[in-house]
Amino acid sequence: MKEVLEVLSEPWPWYVSGPLIGLTVPLLLLLGNKSFGISSSFSHICAAVLRPAIPFFRYDWKKEAWNLWFVGGLVLGGVIAANVFPFSQDIEVSNSLKAELVNYGVTRYDTLLPTELFSFEGLGTLRGFLLIVVGGFLVGFGTRYAGGCTSGHAIMGLSNLQLPSLVATVSFMAGGFLMANAILPFILTL
């Protein structure tokens, strides 16, 4: 049992976790005809909490409650991962990325997010504010405008051979490349 826990506590290789992630598509369809997609949950929360005057959020969110249960499960999965199968050592980061990040004062690799950037203290700095608050805003705005995120477009949409999802996937990869290589290096110096 101890050995099993040790193996599970290591990071799982891509060829194990990738196919398991792909199996979420049939799992949700079999459990009740649900199309895999996570960014919709933001919309359902807006619809549920704000009881809005905005027509876009005027729909029967209760019919989509499964999606909120699912994202609640994601949080729970994070809790289980961190407490039952915690990573036993520093996480893997490529040397070329390490060499780059050290210039911005990022030198710790014991958590999945650099604590130098993502923390409540970091929120008070300009770069922390940009990454956490502005970055989050772009994720919420962009995914809804795009009609989906990595799960809805890249995984579900491409699995279903949808051309709009291919366009979306190429576009968000392009946006990510541009941000990470051209803009982020500047933000990190702030």
């Binding site: 799982w12 009740g32 997609g37 905005i54 249960w69 490529s94 993502f118």
Partner: protein, 172 residues
Amino acid sequence: MSKGEVVAEFRKLTDTDPEGRAIDSGLNESRLSLPWWHDIKFLIAGAWFGLLLVKSEVISWFRIQEMFRLQSFHMYGIIGSAVLVGMLSLWIIRRFGIRTIYGEPIVVADKKFHKGNIYGSLLFGFGWAMTGACPGPLYAQLGTGMLVIGVTIISALAGTWVYGLLRSRLPH
């Protein structure tokens, strides 16, 4: 009811919806109305998926930076193999006419192209590279104890709300 009837019903729903909601938010296709506790199975599915996201390091800000800088194959391997398995699964479901556990025919709505697929995705790409997380990982990161990600999630909710507010004025 037959699969054709389910599709027709769904088309009617999307066509009569002026805001195109059903296309936008992937509203689900099931016509069953079940008591709330039936949704607990999605909590369990979500927990399993969240565990996967953590253990595969998909929620790692570093992994996302490596992906966008072409410094590691990891994320490409994960997304690529996930899509292949998803495609194969959908093919099998259609080929053998597999139904849900409640006996409903399985229907997946087509996505309709609009300009937001490009503009919105570009903006999401910016956000993905900044936060190092797409929506699923944000929830899982919060679960691992990174409480500051709660702020990111609230910002994402604000972003979604502002999109809803400005929707009619944006190019689609």
